[in-house]
Symmetry: C2
Subunit: 152 residues, 2 copies
């Protein structure tokens, strides 16, 4: 991974999460970084768009637009929360090699799968990310279970 | 899986693939079935919408709209092509238990992963599905590689 400032880029993912929360949505955000520059950003759209596929990572990839297979291999995802199986699958599909994760305390996605695929994961353990999700899950357990497909 | 008519439902997925082709898109289609009824349908939207996340399965799930975790567990996906890692991850996220696949000759997705997760796969080996993709890949190799994230 290039020598870049993780905390500044994670802060942009956090800004996306906060934007989602302000819209009444689930506070998870993501930015797509290529050569140290943010080329796409997004946040969970379950409430806002009624989307079942636009988790933060997916929304950010969608907003980034079409890239070549070679470009994807040079991208890093900054996501405020550990990626679920769907988002991990998208990382694998596109051969993304680096994922920086805000926190994996409130939810742990498919990190074992990603590591087995050779993806480098960096866990920031960011208190703001943890706080956003802790509050949201406490206040919206049914919605959270829907978002991760878990029976209550 | 309920005793239902696979070929009639797969035919609806094929109709989605053909619709995509007529729009100038990649000919892969999918329908979501609950209790023997189609509750959502879609097709690959890479060309039409410039989407990098709307593979056929994802488009069909998105068009189906929000379901409860329990509802997803009772759904069957009918897809004309073996599901890629992203779509397989979505199947895992939502706990979908049955996937009926038109063909896995032109592309084999994450079938091993899905089986290891307890998903029942039924391969139809449908000649129309094979023919649609064989022709498309021959005529559009770069586009196809982009769709599955593979370097040429």
């Amino acid at each position: 991974m290039p020598d870049i400032n993780h905390s500044a880029l994670m802060n942009e993912a956090v800004n996306e999460a906060k934007k989602g929360l302000a819209e009444g949505g689930i506070p998870i955000g993501c930015v797509v970084v290529l050569d140290g520059e943010i080329i796409g950003r997004g946040h969970n759209q379950r409430i806002q768009e009624g989307s079942v596929i636009k988790h933060a990572e997916m929304d950010a990839l969608e907003n980034t637009g079409r890239l070549s297979p070679a470009q994807y291999r040079a991208c890093t995802l900054y996501t405020t929360l550990s990626p679920c199986p769907m988002c991990s699958g998208a990382v694998r599909l596109y051969g993304i090699k680096y994922v920086v994760i805000g926190e994996n305390t409130t939810f742990q996605g498919d990190e074992t799968f990603l590591k087995s695929e050779g993806v480098t994961l960096t866990i920031i353990d960011d208190p703001t990310c943890i706080d956003l999700m802790t509050r949201f899950i406490e206040q919206n357990p049914a919605l959270w279970h829907e978002d991760i497909g878990e029976l209550e």
